[in-house]
Point group: D2
Chain length 322, copies 4
């Protein structure tokens, strides 16, 4: 059972990998692959694991499956790194129930996106206030700002007001796009003032990670199939080597961009994880994308190019990206 110290907080930093959910070809949760995937992520040096996000196909799992998956992963990780559990749901009751299940099982926090259908920023505030009241003070929350997925937009003052009012809001998953300025405004609101700090981790597949780090992000919460790149970039950057970090990133950028395609990107990510031995099947639950022969050939080409670039690139010194 993880210690309370494992909870996420305002100073959480590094890479919280957005975990896929492994399925068998029949669409059942593939529990052995869950274990191997966890070990894969940890071996690549991630600083945390986030499960049941949108790219974890949470919305296609039953409530029972969600709870079982959360418990299983938390048990397997066994306190080695914090585990954040996505609990977004159309109904607040279900959201609260899963949150409590997750925290009781040892989760380090929960991740919540605004419910689709919220229109104004007052509605967004009211929504989260309701949730924070229902969750109580002991469940740390990562608020996910992902308008492309939720169709809900809010501005920096709304977020700051939520932080001012709700102490359990400790992390901001930034994936508004474009959103570099927004990220910086959130960062400065706390750094320059006497306000409470929150951790800022970036999503969107990491497409702008070097820029986001330079603007004040604390790391990444995203799911690229080469987690070691995210780790190396963050660690190199925080060691003070911004240009070297960006060099590493740029090596992988063609693939980051390729995985960033909404929909089919998840099938690409799972196929790479399969090829790397992390999971047994690349199956995505229906309705979901499936790679065809052309997609596979294209991926072959991109992976081959990546290997070529990596073998040509100067290795980051082990001191930086340990």
């Amino acid at each position: 059972m993880p210690s309370p110290a494992a909870k996420i907080g305002a100073h959480s930093r590094g890479v919280f990998i957005i975990s896929v959910t492994p399925f068998t070809d029949d669409g059942e949760i593939d529990w052995p692959s869950v274990d191997s995937l966890v070990e894969f992520y940890l071996a690549k040096g991630v600083h945390g694991v986030t499960i049941l996000g949108m790219m974890g196909e949470a919305q296609k799992l039953s409530d029972t499956e969600q709870a079982a998956f959360a418990k299983h992963v938390i048990g397997r990780v066994a306190g080695r790194v914090p585990v954040v559990v996505g609990v977004s749901h159309a109904g607040v009751d279900n959201l609260v129930r899963l949150s409590k299940t997750a925290i009781d099982a040892g989760a380090a926090g929960v991740m919540i996106a605004p419910a689709t259908g919220l229109k104004t920023e007052v509605q967004v505030r009211d929504y989260f206030s309701t949730i924070f009241n229902r969750l109580g003070p002991d469940i740390p929350v990562c608020l996910q700002d992902y308008p492309l997925g939720t169709s809900v937009n809010f501005s920096v003052p709304t977020f700051l007001q939520l932080v001012d009012e709700d102490p359990s809001l400790v992390m901001f998953k930034h994936e508004d796009w474009p959103g570099l300025r927004k990220l910086q405004q959130v960062r400065r609101a706390y750094d320059g003032e006497a306000r409470r700090r929150v951790s800022i981790l970036c999503g969107n597949g990491g497409l702008y990670l070097p820029q986001e780090l330079r603007r004040g992000a604390d790391g990444a919460m995203t799911g690229f199939a080469y987690p070691e790149m995210l780790v190396q970039v963050c660690e190199t950057f925080f060691a003070g080597h911004a240009e070297a970090a960006e060099d590493i990133f740029d090596c992988y950028l063609p693939l980051v961009r390729h995985e960033q395609q909404i929909g089919v990107g998840l099938a690409i990510r799972k196929e790479i994880l399969r090829r790397r031995g992390a999971i047994a099947s690349a199956a995505v639950r229906a309705p979901g994308p499936r790679l065809d022969r052309d997609d596979a050939a294209e991926l072959d080409s991109l992976l081959h190019r990546l290997e070529r670039r990596l073998s040509a690139a100067p290795k980051p010194s082990s001191g930086l990206a340990a």
Copy 2:
């Protein structure tokens, strides 16, 4: 256990009331109110009951609650009228699981809306083809066309192609808006040709019910808090008295329009059902609307006006609206 004859089919006609889901003030399913609500609907003469639709807050129930609710209602109705179960879900696996649960419990069919996120009509067709394959030939399907709620649009040829290919598609829940012409095109495609007929029932709170009946609808599948109006309008119309049917409808139109407000309309509907004794609490699960004092006073005024109008209007003869 209902007989096979209770299944919905191409000739289903009348009012399939979209049932609310009654909650206690604490947000739990209120089982005694479920029973009283079923009896209320049946006493008003509905020809079928549809549960777990959007206005039934299905998306805010857990999977376990959905299954329990479906079984309970089907058991309570006990074959007196057909029960259709809404099974729309972000994941096809969950959709299929609930469908089978419902049919095994005695449901007359399932209702399915296209998953949010489908963009093109080819995607819509592929989505339903996948589902029809997974459900098999023995589960009659009502396809719900509700772009305002799903953000998915498709045109008549796409629907007709689905009908041509999938024998279990037997009912069209029409609630595109505006959509009078679409309804008529679907009707004519079958009436004028040698094609297979489907039943067309109309949603959208019944706002255009008289026009829809004149254009060929077989009835209504919607949830107005005065189901007897929907029943009287349909029965009067099918008895050959279109103008008299529309007179009845127009009496209630101010309230139909009032209930038609997206969001708050559900709170209004539940409050009327509460006042009429059908359910014990008007609670809507979070995130959801709640009437304030002004809303309640406004509703008082509208209900008072309805009563006044009803007592002034000539009663429909019992021969028409038996």
Copy 3:
């Protein structure tokens, strides 16, 4: 040339009819019909005219046509009632140019909706601040809140802040839907506090006009093809006869609802105006709806029913609806 007194202001009240733009069957502006339409509206007792709104097909006119149309209508009205000119445009420069043209020609004010593509409420505020700065203090502005048409949502505090900062914002065209509570919150913000008042006129085809008046609206800015109904309802209501006003409204409600269909509703409205002799052709510019034979027969039926109801209803005494 109208006097300065004709400008819209915080106490503007009554019916500002949203004017259609009459076209010939070939799609050219039909200038004789513009004149006859103006006279039709004025003969029905409207208290103002709003041109170049969305239902005026402003977006399908060239900039040259917009300016010419505005000048022509303002000249024809000749100060008998105030004329508001819709100037919404994707570019602020064009918006400002048309505003100045309109005001120079004698317009009473301009109507502006937020540009499609604004996402957050900070963006909405910035957008209007830019515009108010560019327009200067002498052009009274009616801000149109129509999320169904613009996909831009904002909440009451954002609107109040704009009012606090921008003295030329004098009128709120309320057509959020549902939006009864929003309207009332805006009203109370001024009535209950020492804040500056704004006029509130309601759109959405007038579908909730009696409720809106009871909640504090100053009238309607919408375009129903029977402007005399809107006038009678408002005047009867402001004479203190709320129930009588609503009785008048309810008579027309079936048709209000019919005209309220997005898209085809404009073709219906123009066809009624044509039948009533206000314009020579019901043509809507492409891309736009066109009534077919079924639509026309349906409209016949609804108009026949309206006539029947009107001849049966007690006439409002001339003292109320003068």
Copy 4:
């Protein structure tokens, strides 16, 4: 006056640069910069120029400005390469008028996106059929498929049907995202069958250009601030050196991705063009983005990194990218 041979057609290939519209700091069209920009593009080797696209801020120009800009650019280009004119407009009449103006002035074709608000694919087909009828057979059309900008989605069969019916549809601007498979389906529909060919040029800032070329694209129609990269990539690819083409592309990818940010991306593009001497001011018309100090410093860093990479990269042999 350009010769008829300059018209776009089914075999058009290469880079049609999406031109920005240069403004002075006051927001007026900067005519000297228009000239210098044209010369800049031509000096970089583009095979065509497309003006008045969305990234050309066409929607913020008045109709008069659009016509003047089109004539000016066409005159300046003077037949050296084909000029395509974006004519998308909410009203078909304005669209047709600008099309004829452009063609009379010597345009090689017009580019048209479906009007925002079209919902079903039948509506999309009807929309374009109307337009093709109105334009007649002598105006070659490039159909722009950009759902992220228009919110209109259609599938391959709909596009193919339009091609079958409308001979003047000769070019497909592919920028559905993700859309690699769609592009390939369109390509194969013509290559594998006896159908009429269309030219396929890709947009989306060129983010997937190497993949798109491999899947059958004929080139790019997009507006990256380094047009020479697009030219080199296409020419190298068509010379049979796909890997070398992708190497060139990958060098620029960090900047391609940076410019790809919706909204602020245009300000970045214009700022780079300003720094490169192509235009005098980076001004974007309101409402539009403006770079702040942080944005500028970030851009400095990215440009510096690009220079470093370019000086390190092996030059493409002149034989490939002539």
